[in-house]
Symmetry: C2
Subunit: 426 residues, 2 copies
């Protein structure tokens, strides 16, 4: 399949935060899977490329999901009357235990990957379970989907049910090492492993130290959870008394940014010292507004993080979040920022739609490199969005149609074409 | 069409708040449009009724939307970066002015009514605009839809653009009187007028007094807005200095419950005195969580209202809310109640799914009479919900499937049949 072509239509993207560029009836050029920019008229040097005319449809960058649990997809939208710690015990852990069963894992992960493929998401950072084999199955499914992803075998060796607790019989971290060797050996083009301590309460120092070693040895990125919920933050203070703050419990083991890309989900209750460290170490924050409401965690002070210049993207956090839609995460992020401004910090202006869209594209995209924009040199990840089924008594400007598509969730059913690195997935 | 039949399937309803009844593979009987109860085996006296076998699908009461603006449907999901007063001026009022144009009104209201018909909503309390003719057009469309609704011609005679300000040339309220005479003369079966002062800031005392007279004369219900936003509450204190509190500015003119059904949208900032009056006068509260987030108003203390024993239902409040889905209002109500508990009042327990479902059915349904439940004697308003397109690696219990349907918005596309008063709409 050729990765050299031009899409013509209403092109929208956010090259900078709070700067929504709308180019009607324009052209975006893809050369070898890389974006060559947006043009009103096709530049002469690209005159020979085939043009896909998308008419009045909208063309926008693919969505980046910085935090999603594949093994929780099966129970999405259920068990929402729990708070975090009870939810883990009663809902999340029992489901994750099912992934010891290879047939179940294959069935569940096939459904997950098919749904993610059909969604607006082009790149994702994904939690599996503690099971290495099941997580390899997940990676096969993701590779087949055409999406680009980081996938983590989860690590836990305390405060989890027996079936989900790491076996250190042949050395701490041995299982993770084997998992990484195996997946590196498979020659995936789009699917890469990521070091994944579940969160501090479930990992002993010995395990954290081993994961730090493995990370250094293989040069891998890291994902985990951080300062999500008051009870959890208290538990960490008890379980890692030597840490200055929650994030320091990762940093002490080389699992908190610096030389490797690290993404931390939530950061609802990060202290000033933690925020400083997040910034200094270049850690990405995965803001998961839907999940933070559902599990009654709270609202992350995203405006403050933006003012600080932190790296921020959005996460659907299925199944704390209920849907894989990053469109939904965009509007949720705006909605909760308004409540944050109203009730908690009147100096923290609500997020605008262009700002939230930026987080979902270029913000989170930076975890993957030059991703999430139609600027020259960016990976050509694109969605063609058809909103014509949505009735309107009068024509709306493209800017309004785009906002409407997000608030109405038109990603479900409205995505007509999807490209990742210039390859068309459908 | 016969209104005597039996639906067979997984029947769910909430006869009491926080009491979700699930009856698998059971029968719900409809006789002359009235529910005769849920039975595991068909009682002998109904043995002759035809049975519609819905298989493994779920059968639930229709949703009641206590607050929606038909004339704002056209711009749903757009202009969400504004707060209430700016949003009215820049988005809501300019759109509402278009309804002076009969052709526009017909086109827009036809789309609105068709969408509402396709939604989970079976009954609604609806705002039109100040235009009597356009609002009659809306009533025609609603009558045709098969839904039961109250529809209001909006009243405003100050602080609105000229095109939306009431003309008192032939007497204060004359326009509303003519509107009511006309629609009563049309012999609608399902569509009734409702007295609709927009809100205190837009209505002079003279207009309020006239509306109070008309209400008494015709014995009509009332709808309006109450204590939605801090700026608005301040404006009311300035504009109606004689009122003890916001709601008293309606009550002084006989537009606040007592002998006629009254529904007030929002009640985010109701004072203890106002809450007491709401209760004493039997006013319904239309809780509109999505709108309250979008226009940055806040979170209504619904748990406290429930504890007080107020009458409460849910409103989509399109287009402060972005979608007509009451399913969405249910999950939004739960989500914001968790933030309210977390940040504002730790004594206000988050809403559970059964509680929010109760508000959306029997809670709001009580505004229409015996509506919103499958108990004996209730109006037979029912949805048959098909969730089989949603993949799952293992069978889920009906309770979980129902919760999932709400959180995933399966009302869009998943409603296979819809009944109002025992008449099948599709």
């Amino acid at each position: 399949m050729s990765r050299n072509f031009i899409l013509k239509g209403n092109i929208v993207h956010t090259p900078e935060s709070n700067c929504l560029v709308v180019r009607e009836n324009a052209h975006v050029v893809c050369e070898d899977g890389v974006c060559r920019g947006v043009f009103d008229k096709i530049p002469e040097c690209y005159g020979a490329l085939p043009v896909v005319d998308c008419g009045d449809k909208m063309i926008l960058p693919g969505m980046v999901d910085l935090h999603i649990h594949a093994a929780q997809y099966a129970y999405r939208g259920t068990g929402m009357d729990y708070e975090l710690m009870d939810w883990l015990e009663n809902i999340a852990f029992p489901e994750e235990m099912r992934y010891a069963d290879a047939a179940y894992a294959l069935k569940a992960y096939t459904q997950f990957a098919e749904r993610l493929k059909a969604s607006a998401t082009t790149r994702a950072v994904i939690f599996g379970t503690v099971h290495a084999d099941a997580t390899l199955t997940l990676m096969n499914c993701m590779e087949k989907s055409g999406l680009v992803s980081y996938v983590g075998k989860v690590n836990m060796d305390r405060y989890a049910p027996p079936g989900l607790t790491e076996d250190h019989a042949d050395g701490v971290g041995a299982d993770t090492r084997r998992f990484i060797e195996k997946c590196l050996g498979r020659g995936y083009r789009r699917t890469k492993p990521i070091i994944t301590p579940r969160f501090v309460p479930c990992c002993t120092d010995a395990l954290m130290a081993a994961l730090g070693d493995i990370r250094r040895e293989y040069g891998l990125p890291v994902q985990s959870h951080l300062s999500e919920n008051p009870d959890e933050v208290q538990a960490v203070a008890r379980l890692a008394p030597q840490a200055e703050f929650y994030g320091d419990a990762y940093d002490r083991f080389g699992l908190f940014g610096r030389e490797s890309n690290t993404v931390m989900a939530h950061c609802v209750y990060s202290t000033p010292s933690e925020i400083k460290r997040i910034k200094r170490n270049g850690v990405w924050v995965a803001h998961c507004p839907s999940s933070n409401m559902n599990i009654a965690s709270g609202i992350a002070p995203v405006r403050r993080y933006m003012d600080e210049g932190l790296r921020i993207g959005l996460g659907s956090d299925v199944a704390g979040g209920t849907v894989e839609s990053v469109f939904r995460a965009v509007t949720d992020a705006i909605q909760v920022s308004k409540l944050y401004w109203r009730y908690i910090d009147s100096g923290a202006k609500p997020l605008t739609f262009p700002e939230a869209l930026y987080l979902a594209t270029k913000g989170g995209g930076s975890f993957f490199g030059r991703v999430g924009s139609f600027e020259e040199g960016y990976a050509f990840d694109a969605l063609v969005l058809d909103d014509s089924a949505e009735p309107t008594p009068r024509p709306l400007p493209v800017r309004s149609r785009l906002e409407r598509a997000f608030y109405l969730g038109l990603d479900r059913g409205g995505i007509e074409m999807k490209y990742v690195d210039g390859e068309r997935l459908f």
